[in-house]
Symmetry: C2
């Protein structure tokens, strides 16, 4: 984390009344279940979902292809105040109003990594944490073709964003995530960890 | 979904004041960032995290081994009020006070699937949705050895739980999740989808 000048520090954590929140809300959902019984559930929601896409966010599963090196992926490390920790994730971001998932993926990938990518596939919407929130996201697989001696491009970060980029050979991804998870004040995001764990599982388990 | 007698229906969604919430809370975090600038972030949290484990939940990546069939996994489908949809997930649950992740995994797996499993591995804590919440979880890989003609055991569900179990050969998992995602009022949980996408990626991509 060489670029930053100091460790982030939390100075105060306070209850936030729903009517003062700008980004999030708490809702109480009343519903009738399968047996006809009336029940309630508490839900955290984002206030920012664009009606056009109907999906909160995209994450970019990315493959960097180099003429002479094995395929690699760029992971991003940033301080996340909700966890008071540095998270290890794939580049990701919220879908803006009037954007498609593909457009958001290309835009956010360029902002966080500096690279222009091409979209390979877009997943169906997935539930980020279905017991707690209605947050949803799409996994957009993207690729970047690198030149032999290409310089690493500049990021185009928004004010307040401090994001470190790390390139990891895909064959080493799972082990590298375990290394990060063992570091103090680091935590790997569940989606990236599960993708890498799925890779590792498929490569080490007889499936037929 | 043969067991249920009617489709669940939401009757009301209302703002929930933080001080009336039992399970969730909204917090405002004040922090000083890497450059020394004071900033704020809004965070959704669970009120139920057991201090003993320090982790909210476990999900059970499971392998059912049968003498004569390819390895399979049990996925669970349940109505999730936050999404007003049926979610497709691996069995999962909150870690109780004074439980380890392993103990919670065995207990919850038995409740939701009826099977007694053995724990193969426990992941480090992972951040469920790091831009929005401090929710964290551990992926516990478990196995069940089935007999040749073993009957499917009864679930031990809590009041209000209606969970359908589906056994899927692991080699078909990714395609089956895509099928579910295409069904009306169904959504696949991001962690399970990412694991399956990682499997699919590893099996179809040259990594070295």
């Amino acid at each position: 984390m060489s670029a930053k000048s100091q460790e982030p520090v939390i100075t105060k954590v306070a209850d936030l009344p729903t009517n003062e929140a700008k980004w999030l809300a708490l809702k109480r959902v009343d519903y009738v279940d399968q047996t006809g019984k009336a029940r309630t559930w508490e839900v955290a929601t984002r206030k920012t979902r664009a009606a056009s896409a109907g999906v909160d966010a995209v994450a970019m599963g990315n493959v960097l292809r180099h003429p002479a090196r094995p395929p690699a992926t760029m992971i991003v490390i940033q301080y996340r105040p909700p966890l008071d920790a540095y998270t290890v994730e794939w580049p990701a971001g919220l879908i803006d109003e009037r954007e498609t998932a593909e457009q958001a993926a290309v835009r956010e990938f360029r902002e966080e990594t500096g690279y222009t990518c091409r979209v390979v596939s877009v997943s169906p919407p997935q539930a980020a944490d279905p017991g707690m929130s209605n947050a949803n996201m799409q996994l957009v697989m993207v690729e970047v073709d690198l030149g032999t001696d290409e310089a690493v491009p500049e990021q185009r970060l928004e004010d307040g964003e401090h994001i470190e980029r790390v390139v990891v050979p895909l064959a080493e991804l799972y082990d590298r995530l375990l290394d990060y998870a063992a570091r103090e004040r680091f935590i790997v995001a569940a989606k990236l960890f599960h993708f890498a764990a799925g890779m590792q599982f498929a490569l080490t388990t007889k499936l037929t």
